[in-house]
């Protein structure tokens, strides 16, 4: 009974901590992204705390619900988006700390959870009753279907290779992080894993609806797309969800491809090890987001929706299959 209560308390406190950390760090990440983008465009850019100021301002604004919107769905969508984004973080290791709900879910669950914020946005878009939002919602669904293929290919290829190497329970995040793919694969497999990393880096902007895959939110054609009717508090919640989702997606890449910690360099001092691991994790997340969001955002222009599908299904899907094949050939070479 006492043990059950302890476990319950652990989950509740862990959830609160992860939610606060995810929201704070998510906004920080958005600020870093805007600053870096500005510097790459020879601008000075907003201060790092700009997203916090934006959120504070949005909370002060009037919250308009359009006349022809389905109001309960319209109001529920931002809550769902934020809650689902925080839930993804609960299943992911943060720094050296194990995931709060790690025992209950694996990478397949994360793949499904990653679609929930996007689905909430689609629901909100349809519920707002604006033609712009409807077109945006349709585009978001198409994008979602497009990036699922490369994403699933990456996850399955990695887990399958680990299974061939004799790792127990290869889909769980604990085994994915304790045995990085680089430690089990041979030369061919490492090339394959690098290709899969590139695929995952290009899936990230699609997952987060950032340039060049921000077709659903296209400011110039759709006037904000899915978000067009949202204002005030609801818009602030979508803003927060965007930040948390960025952290979650980067954490997936960190957990799969860059799981190393720093704690083994300071043996004997567990507190220092945890702190170091945590800071190192923040550095890794920022590095991953710099490459996969900021750099790609500055370097590329927006794709049309048909180009998004071709890009994900043909080119990135093909690259994913190539990576999978290389990992397969590698496993034939002798385990």
């Amino acid at each position: 009974m006492i043990e059950q209560l302890g476990g319950f308390l652990y989950v509740v406190l862990g959830t609160i901590f992860v939610a606060l950390f995810g929201i704070g760090f998510g906004l920080g990440v958005l600020g870093v992204d805007r600053k870096l983008t500005a510097h790459m465009q020879a601008r000075i850019g907003p201060p790092l705390r700009q997203p916090f100021i934006d959120i504070r301002k949005l909370l002060l604004k009037e919250n308009i619900i359009p006349e022809n919107a389905i109001s309960w769905l319209f109001n529920a969508a931002p809550v769902f988006a934020l809650a689902a984004s925080v839930t993804i973080l609960l299943y992911l290791p943060i720094g050296g700390l194990p995931p709060v709900l790690g025992v209950y879910g694996d990478i397949i669950l994360i793949m499904y959870l990653l679609t929930v914020p996007a689905l909430a946005m689609v629901t909100g878009g349809f519920a707002s009753g604006s033609p712009y939002a409807t077109v945006g919602a349709q585009r978001e669904m198409i994008t979602m279907m497009a990036y699922e293929l490369p994403l699933a290919t990456v996850f399955i290829a990695l887990a399958w290779r680990l299974a061939r190497a004799g790792v127990q329970d290869p889909f769980s995040l604990a085994s994915l992080t304790s045995t990085p793919i680089w430690s089990v694969a041979g030369p061919l497999g490492i090339i394959g894993a690098l290709i899969l990393l590139i695929v995952l880096i290009f899936v990230t902007p699609g997952e987060l609806s950032r340039v060049p895959f921000d077709t659903p939110e296209a400011e110039t054609e759709l006037a904000g797309g899915l978000m067009v009717e949202y204002s005030g508090k609801n818009l602030a919640m979508f803003y927060l969800a965007q930040g948390v989702k960025s952290v979650a997606m980067a954490s997936v890449i960190v957990a799969l491809f860059l799981p190393w910690g720093l704690s083994e360099f300071v043996p004997g001092i567990p507190a220092l090890g945890i702190l170091l691991d945590f800071l190192w994790y923040i550095v890794k997340v920022l590095a991953v987001l710099f490459v996969s969001v900021s750099l790609i955002r500055v370097a590329m222009a927006r794709f049309r929706i048909s180009q998004v599908v071709t890009m994900y299904w043909i080119y990135l899907g093909g690259l994913g299959i190539l990576g999978l094949t290389l990992l397969f050939l590698d496993s034939l070479g002798g385990v």
Partner: protein
Amino acid sequence: MKPTPSFNRSLWVYHLNSGSCNGCEIEIVAALAPRYDPERFGVKLVGSPRHADALLVTGPVPNKMKERVLRIMEQTPDPKVVICVGTCGESGGVYYDSYSLAGPIDDVIPVDIYVSGCPPRPEAILHGVVKAIEKLEQLQGGAT
């Protein structure tokens, strides 16, 4: 919630073209480009009036546009300011006696800030935005 002077660092602007000749638009784009970089003060151009704190209205408002201007004004959540950019919006400009005008902008919606010029320079537009921020703070009764 008690109002805070958040607007002075995060003003989202919606640009509304009500029959302008595109001269002011070019200057607005010039004001947003890296040379002046208003994003360092949190000023951002948004695509929907629902997200906006300030409406940047250009042009002399033709009859057909009147309803739309009113509607966009209503779609913008409070608190908000209206900035009128260019001579056309102030007085009608070269179109002042045209049969198709619903009047200059302040005959249609209340305007808070006027930016003169045909077209105004980017510096003038940015000055107008700064004035708008001051006005918003007064509306909130916040910082001095």
